[in-house]
């Protein structure tokens, strides 16, 4: 628990007392410092700090401040005494002739030069420096003739005239300035009423603040300071540094022939109250606006200071400053802390996160601390400057006016007091900010501006980076961004080209050329890379291959394209794979089923055959049974063929057939096949007529590129079909010929690329069916599915095998005429 004193420590009265005390101590210190300054001014540094005793030994007229005032007055008196306008003008006149001659000479030289060169003075550096700097005695003075094209031909006389005019003007202004100096000196002297002066100037004018010339008796009543060696310089007036004064016997003009000597009178009894302190010398306003007698003012300062212990004042000053500094630091230590039992809310009323110091007090900050630190500093510094600067400026302005010195200590102390308060306020704010953990830096405007600037820079940088990579844009975003990138690109190029043009050949010209070339090269590289990526994708899509692997390099738009295409490709691959697999499964199923069918069929055939034999040897009872056994045997044989055909058809349609293709003579093959079928044909009184394209009996070779066994299978299926369905006693026409010639691409008469085998037969039953239906599996020419042997599989197998070998099988039905046309390629495809 906090003790009572600890509790008081962080209260507002505690802090206020602390701060006020510090400010007062600083003010006291400054008061002392100003007092010390005044002491130094009055007595001189060394004397003053040697101790009050030493200072006290000095009489007023020995003091530093008296010396100062007297010096001022002496210089004024010398100014009055030395003015001799006529003499001054004369002194100058001699110099004028020389300088004029010099200018005229230079001018004419240039004129001559230019005439020789026939050049425009605008372009000639030598001619373009027409100003001539000349000195009149030791005074800087410029006489100028503007040497320009228009006045190039000025005559010598005209130049002299112009120079005379300029000289007259200068002389007039010079004399005017002397007159004003004299007036100022007179005015200055008039303020010091305790000074008696009577001056006869070099030209005989008398300046005095006395109504009449004082008598020697009057003069002798005064302590006299005589000025020796005060001479009028011919040109520059009086050499002030030579002016000396010393105590001596009063002299009057009557006593000497020297008309440039200056004498003046000062009341020796300055200490005499009645004589010196005249009425009307103490009013503040009179002092400020009309001036006060400096001697009286400095005498007052002397009186006030002479007994003051300088050592003590110095000690008090140092102690006050140190104590003030200590208190100020203590105040800064206290500020920002409050006792924990006080609920403190921030200025806007929202509760702030509460932080605690080690001693249990809570750390807070005031509403003013929300003001950015640097802004706060600027406001404080401005006020500080006003509080400190105004008094300092005022004091500096009045430093030559000793009558005002008595106000300085108070002014200095007041200014210090205010300044300390202001400084403490700002420092306290800084302390609170730092203590409450927000950090001084982060609460400044400069920080915020820098941070804001940094963010903008980062945003621009990020955007440029994105634009550069083009990677982040999806296809939808791309056009919008592409527009701005194009605008930026064009503007950048325009800027660089202009900079390049404006700064040709220099270092920056080369630099901007490099930037220009670099910018365009980089853009080209980007575009090339983009197109390359596109090319890769196109190439990959053509081959159906995988998309480029390093897709991360590609812009998002292309990446999306590549990914989409990859997905489609995979989808197609999967579909194809699935279809192939399904087809294989189907073929396999049929193969397996047919195999399983074959085993029981074997038994069926074998036993029916055994029974048939028995029937033949009359071992088998009655006629009926014999007939039945025959049917079973025939049907099982038929079933066997059906199963074989089914298997073959399934393999052919799935393309699951191994082809051993070679060059074959189709004529030979057809003849062989026809021979195979001749006996069966003969049973039905059918005859095969085998001819070539011209109707002659076929003999010439017609080559095809095909698998012999499969081709035989095709022809035998067709022949078998013809044999089964031909009307009895009709002829079957087989024709082998070249296919239609295809003209070459260059218009030459083409050669036939195919060989055609045709088989025509007359159907026994009406063909009430289309060629397409006929080709379909399990559809036979005879819709009634009568007793005739065979099945629709034959044609289907023939068609599938033909197409596997790159040929075609076409069926035509014309009335009862049935025509099958097989076209096979002559050469390997």
């Amino acid at each position: 628990m906090a003790t009572k004193s600890t509790k008081f420590k962080y209260t507002n009265p505690s802090k206020a007392i602390c701060l006020l005390l510090a400010a007062l101590l600083f003010a006291l210190g400054t008061w002392c410092a100003v007092e010390l300054g005044a002491g130094v001014l009055v007595f001189g540094g060394d004397d003053y700090f040697k101790g009050s005793a030493a200072a006290g030994k000095q009489s007023y007229t020995e003091s530093r401040v008296f010396e100062q005032v007297l010096q001022n007055d002496l210089s004024s008196l010398n100014t009055l005494a030395s003015k001799n306008e006529t003499a001054y003008s004369r002194a100058l006149a001699g110099k004028q002739e020389e300088t004029v001659e010099e200018i005229v000479d230079q001018y004419m030289t240039r004129q001559k030069y230019l005439k020789q060169q026939k050049q425009d003075p605008e372009e000639e550096p030598f001619a373009r420096s027409p100003e001539v700097y000349l000195l009149f005695g030791e005074d800087d003075y410029t006489m100028t003739i503007d040497f320009e094209y228009e006045n190039m031909a000025l005559s010598e006389e005209a130049i002299r005239k112009e120079l005379d005019r300029q000289y007259d003007l200068w002389e007039e202004s010079r004399l005017e300035s002397y007159r004003s100096d004299r007036n100022a000196a007179q005015q200055w002297l008039s303020a010091n009423e305790s000074l008696f002066y009577y001056v006869r100037s070099a030209d005989g004018t008398v300046y005095t603040n006395q109504s009449k010339k004082p008598s020697l008796a009057e003069v002798k009543q005064h302590k006299v300071f005589a000025v020796k060696n005060a001479k009028v310089n011919e040109v520059r007036g009086i050499d002030y540094l030579d002016a000396q004064y010393e105590s001596g016997t009063p002299t009057l003009f009557e006593d000497t022939d020297d008309d440039v000597l200056v004498s003046f009178y000062l009341d020796d009894a300055l200490a005499s109250e009645e004589k010196l302190y005249r009425p009307g010398g103490s009013s503040f306003f009179r002092t400020v606006f009309e001036g006060e007698d400096e001697y009286i003012a400095t005498r007052q300062m002397y009186d006030a200071m002479k007994d003051r212990p300088a050592g003590w004042v110095l000690t008090i000053m140092i102690v006050s400053y140190l104590a003030g500094l200590a208190l100020l630091l203590w105040f800064l230590h206290l500020t920002g802390h409050v006792n924990d039992d006080r609920a403190i809310y921030a200025g806007d009323g929202s509760p702030e996160p509460v932080t605690y110091a080690k001693d249990g007090s809570r750390l807070v900050y005031a509403a003013i601390d929300r003001l950015p630190g640097d802004l706060h500093f600027l406001i404080s510094a401005a006020l500080f400057g006003v509080c400190l600067g105004l008094p300092i400026a005022a004091m500096a302005d009045a430093s030559g006016n000793f009558s005002l010195w008595k106000y300085f200590p108070l002014a200095g102390a007041g200014a210090t007091f205010l300044c300390v308060l202001l400084l403490a306020e700002w420092l306290a704010s800084v302390c609170r900010t730092v203590k409450s953990g927000r950090g001084f830096w982060k609460n400044t405007l400069i920080w915020r501006i820098l941070r804001w600037f940094g963010r903008i820079c980062k945003a621009i940088g990020d955007y440029a980076k994105e634009a550069w990579h083009l990677t982040k844009y999806t296809p939808e975003q791309l056009p919008k961004h592409a527009f701005w990138i194009a605008v930026g690109y064009v503007l950048g190029n325009i800027l660089l080209v202009n900079l390049m043009h404006g700064l040709d050949r220099g270092f920056f010209g080369v630099l901007f050329f490099l930037l220009f070339a670099g910018l365009n090269a980089l853009v080209l590289i980007r575009i090339t890379r983009y197109l390359k990526g596109l090319d890769e994708i196109i190439a990959a899509s053509e081959e159906g291959a995988e998309m480029p692997a390093d897709r991360n390099d590609l812009p998002v738009s292309l990446k999306t394209l590549a990914a989409n295409m990859e997905v489609s490709r995979e989808r197609i691959d999967r579909a194809v794979e699935k279809a192939v697999k399904e087809e294989q499964t189907r073929t396999e199923l049929i193969t397996n089923v047919t195999h399983d069918l074959k085993t029981p069929l074997t038994s069926l055939i074998n036993y029916s055959d055994l029974l048939d034999r028995k029937a033949g040897s009359k071992e088998l009872g009655d006629e009926e049974s014999v007939k039945y056994v025959g049917v079973i045997h025939d049907q099982s044989e038929k079933l066997k063929r059906l199963i074989d055909d089914l298997l073959e058809a399934s393999k052919a349609s799935a393309g699951n057939v191994q082809l051993n293709c070679s060059n074959l003579n189709l004529t030979e093959l057809a003849a062989q096949a026809i021979a195979e079928f001749a006996p069966e044909m003969a049973k039905n009184r059918n005859e095969v007529v085998f001819v070539d394209g011209s109707g002659q009996p076929a003999s010439a070779a017609h080559m095809v590129y095909a698998d012999g066994t499969k081709t035989y299978r095709i022809l035998s299926n067709l022949l078998s079909n013809a044999q089964k369905y031909s009307a009895p006693g009709t002829r079957v026409y087989a024709t082998v010929s070249d296919g239609p010639a295809t003209a070459g691409s260059d218009g030459t008469p083409g050669t036939s690329r195919t060989t055609v085998f045709e088989l025509k037969n007359t159907s026994a039953a009406p063909l009430n069916i289309s060629a397409e239906e006929l080709m379909a599996r399990f559809v036979r020419g005879d819709r009634s599915r009568g007793e005739t042997e065979g099945n629709g599989l034959g044609l289907s197998i023939a068609r599938d095998l033909t197409s596997l070998m790159g040929g075609t099988l076409v069926l035509d039905i014309d009335g009862d005429l049935f025509k099958a046309t097989v076209t096979l390629p002559k050469q390997k495809i």
């Binding site: 047919t594 085993t599 074997t602 191994q658 074959l664 062989q672 021979a675 035989y712």
Partner: protein
């Protein structure tokens, strides 16, 4: 008396084959899988085997490979698989013949007969220059006779000349035009059909299964040939 071992897991087929072979005068032993077949072979003197491929416990191909390690008894494989690749595999594994199901029982009997004849006569064959032989087919150019598995075959003069021409050029494919010119001694002009008809007739006389010829083979689209077996 020759002994034939028939091996099939289907009892009905086994029985029917047994009936046919017994009728031909062979002693028939049966087995229902490969392992039984190998045991039968150890206990008996077997002259020919009919071996089904797909059987439980041990299949026909495995059994045949085991048998072939120390026995060259003729083996006829029996299978429902009719693809060429299956036939080629079976024959190259050491089989002497390959019959697909469903088969013509008489054909099987003929093939068994053929195998036994060759097996039993192996090594004691007369070799004369006038005798052209391939497998069970013999053509005596002096006597002008043709025998198949020892049985005489009656051929017409032209048929005999065609067969002799083919057997003299054993292994060569001869087109019908070549055959015509060699036999008829005339230029071939649209004579293919004549030759093909004769060839067909020859096949019917010498082949067990004319549609699946063993000796006189059709090379489709090129011609005919007789291979050395």
């Amino acid at each position: 008396m020759y002994t034939v071992l028939v091996c099939d897991d289907d009892q009905a087929i086994l029985e029917s084959i047994r009936i046919y072979l017994t009728a031909e005068g062979y002693e028939v032993l049966t087995a229902s899988d490969g392992i039984e077949a190998i045991e039968q072979l150890k206990d008996h003197d077997i002259h020919c085997m009919v071996l089904d491929i797909m059987m439980p416990r041990m299949d026909g191909l495995t059994a045949m490979l085991k048998i072939r390690e120390h026995n060259n008894v003729p083996v006829i494989l029996l299978s429902a698989r009719s693809e060429d690749t299956d036939k080629i595999a079976g024959l190259s594994f050491g089989a002497d013949d390959y019959v697909t199901k469903p088969f013509n029982p008489l054909e099987l009997v003929a093939r068994v007969k053929s195998q036994i004849r060759r097996y039993s006569k192996l090594g004691s064959m007369e070799t004369r220059e006038s005798l052209l032989v391939t497998g069970g087919l013999e053509l005596d150019t002096e006597k002008k006779t043709v025998t198949v598995d020892g049985d005489a075959v009656r051929l017409t003069a032209l048929e005999y000349q065609i067969l002799e021409y083919l057997m003299r050029n054993m292994g060569h494919v001869l087109s019908s035009a070549q055959i015509y010119e060699a036999v008829w001694h005339e230029p071939a002009l649209s004579t293919e059909k004549t030759v093909t008809v004769h060839i067909r007739n020859i096949r019917e006389k010498i082949e067990i299964d004319p549609k699946n010829p063993n000796y006189l083979k059709v090379v489709w689209g090129l011609g005919y040939k007789v291979d050395k077996i």
